[in-house]
Amino acid sequence: MEGYLIAISISVLIYLLMASGLALQYGFTGLVNFGHVGFFAIGSYTSALLALKGVPIPVSLAAATALAALAAYPLGMISLRLGGDYLAIVTLGFSEAVRMTLQTEEWLTRGMHGLPGIPRLFAGWVDPRMIDFCIFLLLLAVCAVVFLLIHHIIRSPFGRVIEAIRDNEVAVRALGKNPAQFKTRSLMIGAGIAGLAGGLQAHYLTFISPEQYVPLITFYIWIALVLGGVGSLRGVVIGTVLLVGFLEGSRFLRDVFTGVSEVQLASVRIWIIGMALICVVLYRPQGLFGKSSRRSN
């Protein structure tokens, strides 16, 4: 039971890390990124492949972060010059292209067979029974640092500009600032964070394969953001904990609803999430802890 709680917590924290990246992009800059999982996948595979080649894990994680951030650069340059919804389409296409590439480039990724035997975090450093707990602590620390970083960014003059862009891009241009430049940087930071989350997950699971990186993951994060409230870091935490906690924890529903088949139960889970989402959008569109301004707290 304790082990299970730690496993759920690790899952929550990895999602939380990803969600914080999207929160910066969407919540604070207004970028509709539907391909978050693509950057996550790039991070996972980069770190895993490097570590399998013998590169130390801290280095491979740094490379995962950097490569995911760099992957966002061309996307930003292409689509952020065009306004509005182009980014959504381009990023969604991008994440699927990443997944297809992971599937087909077998010489590098072993395709559908996946990558087994990825070095585990802390392996050989601590008692094997304590590894999960150590990974949990590490993730907690990484999340704390990343959240502090984002907090620092949104409170800075840079954050002031991205918030202004979310409000009125035309006016930002009228003030001599190039919105595409700011948005690209915001996109890259968020992507880098997703890449880091991907790398950490790879070194936790020790096995990754392309079908882990379906668009559903992206949309889970979107659901978490909408539930918790965009534009507030507290909302991100609450939304993610609620959603992932529910997704992982609802296996215990089995014990409550005996006599319901596995398939039906899976549907019930999705139904509950759907209803929660609809209710939030209807009755509390700013999310459970949403804010309209970073300065109003």
């Binding site: 620092h152 800075s156 003059p157 918030e163 409000d167 241009r173 009228a174 190039n178 940087r185 301004s293």
Partner: protein, 253 residues
Amino acid sequence: MALLSITDITARFGGFRALDYVSLEVGEGELVGLIGTNGAGKSTLFSVATGYIPAGSGSVVFQGENITEVPVHQRVRRGLARTFQVPREFSHMTVFDNLMVGARDQRGEKLGALVFARGAIRQEEERLAERVREVMAFLNLARVSDELAGKLSGGQKKLLEIGRLLMLEPKCILLDEPFAGVNPVLIEQLCDRIVELNRRGIAVLIIEHNLAELARIVPRLYAMDRGRVIASGTPDAVLADPGVREAYMGGVI
């Protein structure tokens, strides 16, 4: 030599000629008005001059340099700034923050500096805050410093937009209908502030429908109709011009 020279500019939307070889000049430190009926092409001319709409032909020269192909934000950085007919405030941000965004080339806008130059950024922020307070005092906005800009009245939003431009320290500002939707008392105040700005050396080109107020403050006026400049000169001369009277009154008077 003029500060801003617009020469033979054309702009078309489909088959419609919004601007038909328009030429106009604003001298260093000059205060100039631009009038015309709705659809005459005044705002389009502003958009071409500031780069929001590409010119079909012709040239925009600012401080002796041809900026016809220069992107919007770089024109602003050279000192050519504008406001909009409908105010474009950052509605979810406070008046104070709206003005803070206005300052050019802030170090804290660079991500590297956020990590490596925190002290310098803090100093810069204090310096900017001081300037913001000056601008707020100048425009009588100090009272609403902490209000969200979206909650201001129409007139206050216009003042805020002008304030944001002042943070840029521009050389020439184009004001698109600064008096529209503003109550008469505030119009008085706006006029006064615009004249004061001009006295401080900023060249101003104003589009306005309120001819009485405009004629009072500008020494020189252009009139446009159907994409062309049809008259220019002193307000009295322009308003007496038969072509202008024809365009405005449809020849009734």
